[in-house]
Symmetry: C2
Amino acid sequence: MKLHILGCYAATPKTMTHPTAQVLEIKNQLFLIDCGEGTQVEMRRNNIRFARIQRIFISHLHGDHFFGLPGLIATFRLLGREKELHIYGPKGVKEAITLLLKLGNSWTDYPLIFHELSSSEPECIYEDAQLKVQTIPLKHRIYTNGFLFSEKPRPRKLHIEAVKKFGIDKAYYRKIKNGADITLEDGRRVANKQLTLDPNPPRRYAYCSDTSFDPTIVPIVRGVDMLYHEATFLDSEEVLASKTGHSTARQAARIAQQAAVGQLLLGHYSTRYKSLEPFRAEAETIFPGVVLAEEGKAYEI
Amino acid sequence: MKLHILGCYAATPKTMTHPTAQVLEIKNQLFLIDCGEGTQVEMRRNNIRFARIQRIFISHLHGDHFFGLPGLIATFRLLGREKELHIYGPKGVKEAITLLLKLGNSWTDYPLIFHELSSSEPECIYEDAQLKVQTIPLKHRIYTNGFLFSEKPRPRKLHIEAVKKFGIDKAYYRKIKNGADITLEDGRRVANKQLTLDPNPPRRYAYCSDTSFDPTIVPIVRGVDMLYHEATFLDSEEVLASKTGHSTARQAARIAQQAAVGQLLLGHYSTRYKSLEPFRAEAETIFPGVVLAEEGKAYEI
C-alpha cells in the first residue's frame, strides 16, 4: 500500500495549500479519497494516472472534501474515459453531480455509478479478491464517514530453496502455493509449512477526517498499520475544535494510542498555523509514531 | 479599467494552466467574470482582495467557467464576509449553489443574491453611477452570455490654470465641474468650456467566451476599447471549433475587425497547443491590434 497526499489542509485556501485529497495505491488499483477543489491539478502534478482511478470515496459534503469532484468527472469525459467510475459518498452526492451535469448538458459517456451512504453503523461498501473497504462513522457537523481499507490475507509464498531441496517438480508449485502438502516419490509426506513461507501480513489503512474526538471509532481502527486522523487544531484551540466538529493533534494521538495503531498520520491542518512541527510535538507527548502529512509526498504503509 | 487574467485556458487542465476567470477593476470596484475551478487560489496568487468582489458574472454553466464558484462562496463565509454578494448567471445557477450549500449545511451568513438570466436578447443587468453592464448573447452548446462593461461619461475636469487666471474662488470649483458657466466680479461671463478640460473618454470592455464565430454580436461590441474573444483553436481546427461551439483565432480577429475594436485580447486556448504565438500570428493576418491573454498578467484598458 502506498498513500499519496494531494492535499492535507482545511478550507480557506492559501496560495500554496490544498484541501483534502489522497490517493491510496494497492497493487494496480488507485482509490481516490476525498476530492477538494483543485484535486485534478494535484493529480497531474503528482503523476497520478487518471485512467487508473476507478473508485472515489467522499467522506462528507463540505466543499473542501468534495468541490473538486464535478470538475474531475467532467475531465474524465474530456479524456475519453469509457471505464465505469464508482462514487461512494453521503446521500445527496448523486443529486448534486447529476444537477451540475444537467445544467452543463455534459452527461458522461462512461458509466457513472453512485453508492450513496446513509447508515450510522460501520458497513462494508466495497470488496474484491484483494481488499475490503468499510465505513467508519465519524462525528462532524454533517453526516460523515471515514474509510477503512483492509487487504485480504495473501496466499503463502513458495519457499524456493525448500522445494528444490526436496526435488519437487515445478508442476506442483501452484498446488503448494494453494496450501497442499506433497507426497514425494519415495513416499515421504512433506507438510505445506515446510515448503512455504509466511505471506506479507495484510495491511490496513484507516482514514478519519473530518471528526471530533470520538473514542467510539477505536474498536474499528484497532491495530491498523496507519491511521490518518485529522488534527485541524492544536490543543490550545480545543474549544474551537469541539465547536466546529474537529480534533486537536493531542486528541488524534489519544485515538492512535487507544487503538494501538502502527503509525499516526496527521493532517487537515488549519491554515492559521505557520509551522506544523507543534502538531508533531503535541501528538508525540501521547503517542510515539507520528508522521506529519505533507502535500506532494507519498507514504509506504 | 484594468483587467486581471486569472485563467485563460479551456477545460482539461494541465499542471500550469487554469480555466477561465478574470477580474475587471473599475475604480474601486472589482468584478469577477467567470469562475473556473481554482479561481480562489488564483485570486490570492494575484493579490485580489476577496472583500472587494461584490458582483460575479457567469457566462455559462460549463465546469471550466463555473466550478470554482461554490468554493469561493464558501470561502467568503469562512472569511467572515457580511457584505452582499451578487451573482449574475444563467437560470440554474441558483438551484446549483443552493443545493450545494444545503448538502453541506453551509448557508452563507452574508446575503447571496442571484440574478438569473434567460433572455436571448441583449439586456442591461447592472447599472450604477459609474458603469453599466449588458449581456452579449453568444452561440455555444448551452445558454451563454458575454458581458459588455461600459463606463459612463465622466464630468469635465477642472482646468486649474484657467480658473486661477480668472481669479475664481475655490467655492465655485464644484459648480464648474458640474457644468456651470461663471459670472466674474467684473460682470464678464466665462463659458464652462473655458474653465474645464475634456474628461477621459469612457472605456468599454467586452467579454465574449465561449462562442462560435457569430457576427451578430458585432453591433453590440462595435468600437469597444478591448474585446476579449475566445480562440480555443487555430484555423486548422475550424471544423472542430464549429462542432464544439468554439472559435478559431482567425474568426476572433474577424469579429474584432468588423467591430473596429481598439484591441483584441485572445484567450480560452485549448491545452493541446504548446505555443501561443501561432494564435497571435493567425489573428494578425486579419486584425493588427492583437494581445495574447496570459495568466497572472493585468492589462490596462
